[in-house]
C-alpha cells in the first residue's frame, strides 16, 4: 500500500485494560478520518492470561489485521517479552519503564520506549490502568497525530465523570509530550482525513442491521463469540421497542424465535456452533411450517467446545446438515464487518419472501473483530418487504383459506394468526394445502409428493434475491483465488500484492453458500488456468460443496485451522507454493508472540518453523 499505515499491538493480561486502551486509540483515529481494523486474540479466562489486540490504521481502509506490527504497547512483562521480538526495524515498543524491563535486546532498529509512568500519571500507584492512558498518549504522538481528538474520546467515554476525564487527559497529555521530547516518531506518519468513520464490530452491525431491517424480537442464550449481539439488543431494546429475551438454552431460543416469526414478527436469534447444534431440529420446523426464521451462527473453532476464543470457518457442514429431511434453506456468509450490517436485511427479505429458514454464518474474526465503516454506508433505510404476508382481514379472499396453497411459485400467501377468516393449523408433520396432517393417514403418495415439490419450487427464483459472487481483478487471470465469507479482505489484499509482484491472479468471493450461484462461478473458473480455494478449516468444506454443486475440482487449497486468522502474507506465500506444485498448503501462525507454555510444561515444537524469526528469545525457565 502506498498510503502510510501503522499496526499497533496492545498486549496484556485479561483485566489489564487492553480492550479499553484499544478502543480509545481506535476512536481517536476514526474521529480524525483514519480508518482501522481490529482483531483481538485472547484466551478463555476472565482475569490473567494473555490477550493481543492488533489495530491496523491507515487513511486507506484496512481490510484485515495485517501481518506485522509497528508499535507494541506492552501492559505487562509477558507482553513485552512476547512481542518485542516481532517488531521490524523502525518499530516502537512502549511500556511502563518503572515496572517492566525487556528481558533481551530488541531487534536491530527497534526503539525501546520505557515511560516513567509514576511521574507522568501520579495516580497510577492506585490506578494501574493509567499506564495505558500514558502509553496511548505516547503512541498518538509517535504516529504524528495531534492530541485534541484523543482528549475528545476521554470526554465522551467518561462523560458523566469530569474528574476522570481530567485525570485521563492529563496522563495522556504527559505521555504525548514525553514521547515528543524523548523518542523518535515513526518514519511514515499518519494523516487525518475528512472521512467520517463509525467504529463497530461485526456483532454490533449484525444487531443494528437487523434492527433497521425490522427485527422486533431477538432471543438468545449467551455463547461466545455471539454474545455481543444479545448485549447490543438488550441495551437498545427499550429505545427501539424490540422484545429481547435471554432464555434457558438454544432449543428454547430457536423455538421462541420461530414462534414469534410465526405470529408475523420479524424475529432473529444467534449462537455459536454448540448452540446451533441444539437448534437444528427446529430449523427443519421452520422449513416445514414455511415460517421464516433468521438464525446466526458465529463460528468458533470446534469440534465440541473446541477453542472457544478462536476463529474458524468449519461449521459449513453443520449448516448444510442442520435438521433431518430434505428441505429448503439459505446459508449466507457476510464478507466483512461492514457487510454484517446489510446481511440481516437480505436474510429477512429472503426468509419472508420464500418462507424458509435463513442461516447467517459469521465467525469470531468477523463478529468480535471490528473495523471502521463509512457513516454513509450505515445511514440507509432498508426497504422492508414482507412478501406475501396477509396482515389484515379487510381485503377480498378466497374461501377456504389454504395456508399451504400449491401455487406456481410454490409460495403460499401467509396469514398472520389473529385474523378472522384465516384459521389454520401448522404441523411439523407433513400436511396438505389446508394444513391438515397427512402423516396419520395410511399413506398418501400423491399429496406427499405434491407438498415436497411445492416447497422445493420456491428455490427456482431465489438466487435472484441473493448476493452473487464478487469477482475482483482481471477476468482472464491465470489463477483464481476463491474464498467465502470473512476471508474476503485478507484474500483481496493478498491478490493485490501478488498482482503487484507480477503474478496473474483474480479473486472470487462467495457470500451465498446455499443455494450456490454455480453458473456464475463456473463462468469465472472456466477462464482461469488454476483455481485455489482458501478457507479457514481443515478439510476444505467449501471445496467439497463446490465440487458437489458444480463438478469443479480445485487445483490448490490453502487452509488454516490453528485458531488464528489468515494474514495476507500467509496467502501470498501459499499461492507461490501452489504455483510451485503443492496441492494443499496448511498455514500456521508462527510469530514468536504466539508461543505459549502448555499448562503441563511444554510449549510445542516451535524450533525450525518456517517464517519464524526470533532474535534474542529469552530462555524459558
Amino acid at each position: 500500500m502506498s498510503e502510510p499505515e501503522v499496526v499497533v499491538g496492545i498486549g496484556g493480561a485479561a483485566g489489564d485494560g487492553t480492550a479499553s486502551a484499544g478502543n480509545t486509540l481506535v476512536l481517536s483515529m476514526a474521529r480524525q478520518g483514519i480508518a482501522g481494523y481490529s482483531y483481538n486474540s485472547y484466551q478463555s479466562v476472565i482475569r490473567g492470561g494473555h490477550s493481543w489486540l492488533r489495530l491496523r490504521f491507515s487513511a486507506k481502509k484496512p481490510l484485515n489485521q495485517g501481518d506485522q506490527v509497528d508499535v507494541v504497547i506492552a501492559l505487562n512483562q509477558d507482553s513485552l517479552d512476547r512481542h518485542l521480538q516481532e517488531l521490524q526495524p523502525g518499530g516502537i515498543c512502549l511500556y511502563n519503564g518503572a515496572k517492566f524491563q525487556p528481558s533481551y535486546d530488541p531487534p536491530a532498529g527497534v526503539q525501546l520506549c520505557g515511560l516513567p509512568v509514576p511521574d507522568l500519571a501520579p495516580d497510577s500507584a492506585k490506578l494501574p490502568v493509567m499506564q495505558n492512558t500514558v502509553a496511548v498518549g505516547a503512541a498518538v504522538q509517535l504516529m504524528g497525530l495531534g492530541f485534541e481528538t484523543l482528549a475528545s474520546v476521554f470526554e465522551t467515554t467518561f462523560a458523566k465523570k469530569p474528574a476522570v476525564v481530567q485525570k485521563n487527559v492529563e496522563a495522556a497529555r504527559n505521555g504525548y509530550d514525553y514521547a515528543a521530547k524523548n523518542f523518535r516518531p515513526l518514519a511514515t506518519p499518519l494523516h487525518p482525513t475528512d472521512q467520517k468513520w463509525a467504529q463497530c464490530s461485526g456483532n454490533e452491525l449484525l444487531a443494528m442491521g437487523a434492527a433497521l431491517a425490522g427485527c422486533k424480537f431477538y432471543v438468545a442464550y449467551p455463547m461466545s463469540p455471539a454474545t455481543h449481539i444479545l448485549e447490543w439488543f438488550a441495551n437498545h431494546a427499550k429505545r427501539l421497542g424490540i422484545c429481547v429475551r435471554q432464555v434457558e438454552d438454544e432449543i428454547s431460543v430457536v423455538n421462541m424465535c420461530i414462534g414469534a416469526n410465526h405470529m408475523g414478527v420479524r424475529a432473529m436469534c444467534a449462537t455459536s456452533g454448540g448452540g446451533f447444534a441444539l437448534m437444528t431440529e427446529a430449523i427443519g420446523m421452520s422449513a416445514m411450517f414455511e415460517t421464516p426464521a433468521v438464525v446466526i451462527n458465529v463460528m468458533r473453532a470446534g469440534p465440541s467446545t473446541g477453542v472457544p476464543t478462536k476463529t474458524e470457518q468449519a461449521d459449513l457442514n453443520q449448516a448444510f446438515g442442520a435438521s433431518q429431511g430434505d428441505f429448503e434453506r439459505v446459508v449466507i456468509a457476510p464478507l466483512s464487518m461492514g457487510d454484517c450490517f446489510v446481511t440481516p436485511a437480505v436474510a429477512f427479505h429472503v426468509a419472508d419472501k420464500y418462507q424458509l429458514p435463513v442461516l447467517i454464518l459469521g465467525d469470531l474474526l468477523l463478529c468480535e473483530g471490528s473495523e471502521t465503516v463509512a457513516t454513509e454506508v450505515l445511514d440507509v433505510g432498508f426497504p422492508i418487504d414482507r412478501g406475501e404476508l396477509i396482515t389484515t382481514a379487510d381485503g377480498p379472499r378466497q374461501e377456504p383459506y389454504l395456508r399451504y396453497k400449491d401455487t406456481p411459485s410454490g409460495i403460499s400467501p401467509r396469514a398472520i394468526p389473529g385474523l378472522p377468516g384465516y384459521l389454520y393449523t401448522s404441523g411439523t408433520d407433513e400436511h396438505d394445502e389446508d394444513g391438515v396432517l397427512l402423516s396419520d393417514v395410511f399413506t398418501d403418495p400423491i399429496r406427499r409428493k405434491k407438498m415436497v415439490d411445492k416447497r422445493h419450487r420456491k428455490l427456482s427464483t431465489i438466487l435472484e434475491d441473493l448476493p452473487p459472487p464478487i469477482l475482483e481483478g482481471p477476468a482472464d487471470a491465470e489463477t483464481t483465488l476463491l474464498g467465502w465469507g470473512s476471508t474476503w479482505g485478507v484474500i483481496k489484499e493478498a491478490a493485490e500484492r501478488l498482482t503487484a509482484a507480477g503474478v496473474s491472479v483474480n479473486h472470487l468471493q462467495i457470500k451465498t453458500i446455499i443455494p450456490l450461484h454455480g453458473d456464475d462461478i463456473t463462468a469465472v473458473v472456466e477462464k482461469s488456468r488454476r483455481l485455489i480455494i482458501i478457507e479457514n478449516n481443515h478439510s476444505g468444506q467449501f471445496a467439497r460443496h463446490l465440487r458437489a454443486e458444480t463438478g469443479i475440482v480445485a487445483d490448490g487449497h490453502i487452509r488454516k485451522y490453528d485458531g488464528e486468522p489468515f494474514e495476507p502474507k500467509h496467502i501470498v506465500s501459499a499461492v507461490s507454493d501452489i504455483i510451485d506444485g503443492q496441492t494443499i498448503v496448511n498455514v500456521l501462525s508462527t510469530e514468536p508472540g504466539w508461543r505459549t507454555d502448555h499448562p503441563t510444561g511444554t510449549s510445542g515444537p516451535w524450533e525450525g518453523l518456517k517464517q519464524v524469526t526470533r532474535p534474542g528469545v529469552p530462555a524459558k525457565a
Binding site: 422486533k216 434457558e248 421462541m256 414462534g259 410465526h262 405470529m263 427446529a282 445511514d379 394468526p417 389473529g418
Partner: protein, 296 residues
C-alpha cells in the same frame, strides 16, 4: 379480547377433522372440555392460539377450529412463549402430554413457570408413552411394568403439582378427563389467570396403561373444592400436592393471592398495549443517526 360480534358457541370450535385417538381415550374429554371453556369465555376462534408438542395428545390443535401449531417434541412452551410475546392479544393455550412436558421438555416447563408468561398449559398426563406404543414415562408409577420397564419401573415418579409450586407457578390445578365439566371450569380459571397456569389432567390411555385406568382414578380422586382447601395457601397446596395413594386430590391446588405481573406485560417493548406484530418496525432517520453516533 375483543367482544365477538356474535355469540361464540361450542360448535364454532369443532374441527372438521375427527380425532384419531383410540376409542375411549382420555384426550376426548380434554378436547370437549376445551371447546366448552373457550365458548363459555366467549373467545373468538381467531383469537385463540393452541400450541402443542408431539405425542397422541399433541394432535389436539388439529381437532379444534382456531389458530394452531403442532411443534416439536417437548418444545411447545418456548414456541407458545414466542407467540404470546409477539401478539399478546391472543389467548395462548399449550397442550401436550407427560412425556412431552415432563420428560423431554421439562427444562422449558420449569423456566416457563419461573418466567410467568401468560400461557395456559394443559398436560394430558396418562403416565405412559402412548404414540410410541407403551413405554415408561416420567410420571409412571414406581414398579409399573411397561415395554421398556418389563421388570417394573425402577425410577421415582415425577410430581408435577409439587414441581410447579416449587417453580413459582401462580396457578396450579389438576383435573380428570372423566369429569369434563369440572375440567372445563379449571380451564376457564386457568385461561383467565394472567400468568402461567398449569392444568395437569389425568387422561387415561386405554390401550397401553392398564394401571392408571378410569376406574383407578374414580376410586381415588376427590375434589379439593369439597375438602375445605385454601387455594391461596402455598403450604396447604404443597401438602395436597404430596398426596397420592389412597386418595388423590383434583381441582385448584393453588392460585397466588398476590399474582405477579406476567412477562408479556412487563417487557418494555410490550407495555404500550399494541402487540409487537402490529407495532411499527421501521427505525426513523433521526434514531438511526443516534445509533451510528454511538460508534463514533
Amino acid at each position: 379480547m375483543t367482544p365477538p360480534a356474535t355469540l361464540v358457541e361450542v360448535k364454532d370450535f369443532k374441527s372438521e377433522v375427527h380425532p384419531d385417538w383410540c376409542p375411549g381415550c382420555g384426550d376426548f374429554g380434554v378436547l370437549t372440555s376445551l371447546y366448552k371453556a373457550c365458548a363459555e369465555l366467549q373467545i373468538p376462534p381467531h383469537e385463540l392460539m393452541v400450541v402443542s408438542g408431539i405425542g397422541c395428545s399433541s394432535n389436539l390443535p388439529g381437532f379444534i377450529r382456531s389458530y394452531g401449531v403442532h411443534t416439536l417434541h417437548g418444545r411447545l412452551l418456548p414456541f407458545a412463549t414466542g407467540c404470546k410475546l409477539a401478539n399478546q392479544n391472543m389467548t395462548v393455550v399449550g397442550t401436550g402430554g407427560d412425556g412431552d412436558g415432563y420428560g423431554i421438555g421439562l427444562n422449558h416447563f420449569i423456566q416457563a413457570m419461573r418466567r410467568n408468561i401468560d400461557v395456559t398449559y394443559i398436560v394430558m398426563n396418562n403416565e405412559i408413552y402412548g404414540l410410541t406404543t407403551g413405554q415408561v414415562s416420567p410420571t409412571s408409577e414406581t414398579g409399573m411394568k411397561t415395554k421398556t420397564s418389563p421388570f417394573g419401573n425402577l425410577e421415582g415418579m415425577l410430581n408435577p403439582m409439587a414441581l410447579a409450586l416449587a417453580a413459582g407457578c401462580g396457578f396450579v390445578a389438576r383435573g380428570f378427563s372423566g369429569q369434563p365439566k369440572h375440567l372445563a371450569e379449571l380451564y376457564k380459571a386457568g385461561i383467565q389467570h394472567k400468568g402461567f397456569a398449569l392444568i395437569d389432567v389425568f387422561s387415561p390411555c386405554v390401550t397401553f396403561n392398564k394401571l392408571n385406568t378410569y376406574q383407578y382414578f374414580r376410586e381415588r380422586i376427590y375434589k379439593l373444592e369439597d375438602a375445605a382447601h385454601d387455594t391461596g395457601s402455598f403450604h396447604a397446596a404443597m401438602d395436597r400436592a404430596l398426596e397420592w395413594d389412597p386418595k388423590i386430590p383434583i381441582g385448584l391446588f393453588y392460585r397466588n393471592p398476590d399474582p405477579q405481573p406476567s412477562l408479556d406485560t412487563l417487557d418494555p417493548a410490550l407495555t404500550t398495549g399494541v402487540p409487537l406484530v402490529h407495532q411499527n418496525c421501521t427505525v426513523d432517520a433521526e434514531t438511526r443517526g443516534e445509533l451510528i453516533r454511538e460508534f463514533m
